[in-house]
């Protein structure tokens, strides 16, 4: 049944498909005017920040990984960065390279998954990637091969693709040998070629969406397409260090969600993730990635969330290229980790998860016991933006029949690649502030 624009209608998608975690969408339209748009996150809260209290400073990499099965490395990396900051330890050289290598594995995996199984079906008109495989077997197989290469890279460095066991504060438990890494290079070379093909494929998709003008926020580090380190910059001139974040960004609780919303204090909603990174770091892309982006007609001013599928593909190219570079120059470090002696203090750390900025903050006791933990994941930062965009979209398409409107709105949400599992790790507000 299809409603028209007169009268009031309520549009609901009770369970958003092809996103990570459990979310729903709720739109109220009264007399043809959009009253309310909510991206509901009903994923039950899991209280990570609460039970991190009292744990040892060595534990957050393993524990926070369990916030999200799709980007566990991101949690491990941000946790390490924050705790190392608190303990005033810097990890660099081959260990830092290995961390980036591991991270690229996750990027490749996560992006390949999103592109092929979650996002592309929206452009080509399928319910899911598996259905799409019937008509586009080669593309799906190529996507799966790419995803597998990413997973295998994570497993090579980290032990297994999901919740890798090898990461520790200070570095790793065991570092791979030169020979082990070299043996993986041919896989990455093949993946690089496939990734370039994927850019070509997705750049042909029709992206109708208007270019919204959000403030784009991402890490930036000289000479790198920043992932494990950098300052936070934005298209509106933000430029801060990790320990200044709370001076600029605030989280608020909204009643319809178990996740918190983050806003820039001065300016409101902003966007993190591939579009932001590309806009702010495109000059640091590896040559093959820059070339693929140019061929795909991707300009730094790209703001259309649907086009993020192309940006993701370009980022996969970059990840493969940089991973190859790391492998080629790798020398086994003397020790798998640098010692991290606990000390009383506060440390903040951030990295670029596949979906955008992931910030951790820990307050430690002198013996390393965690007194306080705060985590701001990418989806919490993007959620206000997604809702604004949704509102905009629904207002413009209010004449569409329900199911088309619903599908369109769903597609818009998926383009942002929200990770609801991440968004709801949150500690209940009241608890956290005590």
């Amino acid at each position: 049944m299809t409603h028209r624009s007169t009268g009031s209608r309520t549009l609901r998608v009770d369970s958003l498909a092809r996103v990570e975690g459990e979310g729903a969408m709720h739109v109220d339209i009264v007399d043809g005017r959009v009253q309310d748009v909510q991206l509901r996150i009903y994923e039950p809260p899991r209280f990570f920040e609460a039970f991190l209290r009292g744990r040892a400073h060595t534990e957050p990499p393993d524990i926070t990984a369990r916030i999200c099965g799709i980007c566990p490395v991101a949690y491990q990396m941000s946790a390490c960065a924050a705790i190392e900051a608190a303990c005033e330890v810097t990890v660099d050289g081959p260990l830092a390279d290995l961390r980036r290598l591991l991270y690229w594995g996750e990027w490749i995996e996560s992006h390949a998954l999103h592109i092929h199984l979650l996002h592309a079906p929206d452009f080509l008109g399928y319910e899911g990637g598996i259905e799409m495989a019937q008509d586009h077997p080669e593309e799906v197989r190529r996507g799966l091969a790419l995803k597998k290469a990413g997973n295998d890279l994570v497993a090579l460095v980290g032990g297994r693709p999901i919740h890798p066991v090898n990461v520790r504060v200070g570095g790793f438990h065991r570092v791979p040998t030169r020979r082990e890494l070299r043996a993986f290079a041919p896989r990455l070379e093949a993946a690089l070629e496939q990734a370039i093909d994927v850019v070509r494929w997705v750049s042909r998709f029709d992206c109708p969406g208007p270019d919204a003008d959000w403030e784009l926020v991402a890490l930036r580090h000289p000479g790198e397409y920043a992932v494990t380190r950098g300052r936070l910059v934005s298209t509106a001139g933000l430029d801060i260090g990790a320990d200044e974040l709370l001076d600029h960004i605030a989280e608020t609780q909204v009643p319809h969600s178990t996740a918190l919303h983050a806003h820039l204090l001065e300016r409101g909603a902003y966007l993190v993730g591939p579009l932001a990174r590309f806009a702010l770091n495109h000059d640091a892309l590896a040559a093959p990635a820059a070339q693929a982006a140019a061929e795909a007609g991707l300009g730094p001013a790209t703001r259309d969330p649907a086009r993020s599928i192309v940006v993701r593909a370009v980022e996969v190219v970059h990840a493969c290229a940089d991973a190859l570079r790391i492998i080629e120059s790798y020398d086994e470090p003397d020790a798998p980790a640098v010692p991290v002696e606990p000390r009383a203090g506060v440390g903040c750390g951030w990295t670029e998860a596949p979906r955008g900025l992931l910030w951790h903050r820990y307050r430690l006791d002198a013996d390393g016991t965690i007194l306080e933990a705060t985590i701001i994941p990418p989806t919490a930062q993007n959620q206000p933006t997604i809702e604004h965009d949704l509102l905009h979209f629904v207002e413009h398409h209010v004449d569409l029949p329900d199911d088309e409107l619903r599908r369109g709105a769903e597609q818009l949400i998926r383009a942002y690649d929200p990770c609801i599992s991440c968004a709801t790790h949150f500690l209940d507000l009241t608890v956290r502030r005590t």
């Binding site: 609460a50 065991r174 009241t430």
Partner: protein
């Protein structure tokens, strides 16, 4: 043919999605799985939703809300076979740490929070609510074990999921024991096999993500790890991670916590 394909459903409760993602991580087999099974409900992979009943339901996540208590019963009644996947669904997961919150003294603060009302005070495994045909362990589950369980359920075979200790796999794999050769605390002797003794292969001790092995002896491990220099609070934390709610781990950690300072 396709009409007679067994119908698979994948459900999610409180979890990180990692276990269901494991199915999508079977890159080489994913299209085969789709060929052998009718993927009737799997929101992480497809918008398409087919009504039950389902021949095989994979359930991820623990039960933490009143609505979920109702929903898991519905899932059970719509499923011929129900297999839980992962530590959340089989033992309550990391979020079961809230079960110990009363002793940790912040429960009062949490109770004062209105929105807490929507969540239960405990995180419980699926089997605490409905009968379960098989529990696949791990945080996350192992890809090969998942495929084996699916194949076993398709073909009426017993899954090849041994319940013996990680040490058995560790030795088969040819790892050098980290406890004996480095003095590193390892939960392998009381943890169920399945991961292929991954952590010792990476020079660290097992942290128990596959939950307790069959007939484990945690008190004996306590004695041993104390001898190797571990303090009781460290032992409590070691036992209280992703399978903190599993009986043998819970009992030992409570015993240690009570005895503690």
């Amino acid at each position: 043919m396709s009409a007679t394909k067994p119908r698979l459903a994948v459900w999610k409760f409180a979890s990180c999605d990692g276990c269901q993602l494991t199915l999508l991580d079977c890159e080489d087999e994913l299209l085969d799985v789709a060929g052998e099974l009718d993927i009737a409900y799997f929101p992480e992979a497809t918008r398409a939703v087919k009504r039950g009943p389902y021949d095989l339901s994979l359930v991820e996540g623990s039960i933490t809300t009143a609505e979920d208590v109702v929903r898991i019963r519905e899932v059970r009644s719509a499923s011929r076979q129900l297999v839980t996947i992962g530590a959340c669904a089989s033992a309550g997961g990391i979020q079961a740490l809230r079960d110990f919150a009363d002793v940790d003294a912040y429960l009062a603060i949490v109770y004062a929070t209105p929105s807490f009302i929507s969540t239960l005070a405990t995180s419980t495994p699926v089997a605490a609510h409905v009968p379960v045909d098989f529990e696949l362990r791990g945080c996350p589950i192992d890809r090969h074990q998942l495929l084996d369980v699916i194949a076993a359920f398709l073909h009426g075979r017993r899954p090849d999921v041994p319940t013996s200790s990680v040490c058995v796999e560790c030795k088969r794999r040819g790892n050098v024991c980290v406890t004996v050769a480095r003095g590193t605390p390892c939960l392998g002797p009381i943890t169920q096999a399945g991961c292929g003794a991954l952590c010792p292969a990476y020079h660290r001790g097992c942290y128990g993500c596959f939950g307790p092995a069959e007939d484990p002896n945690p008190p004996a491990l306590t004695v041993e790890l104390r001898r190797r220099g571990l303090a009781d609070p460290d032992l409590v934390r070691l036992l209280r991670t992703f399978n903190a709610g599993a009986r043998p781990f819970r009992d030992e950690s409570e015993h240690l916590a009570e005895a503690g300072p």
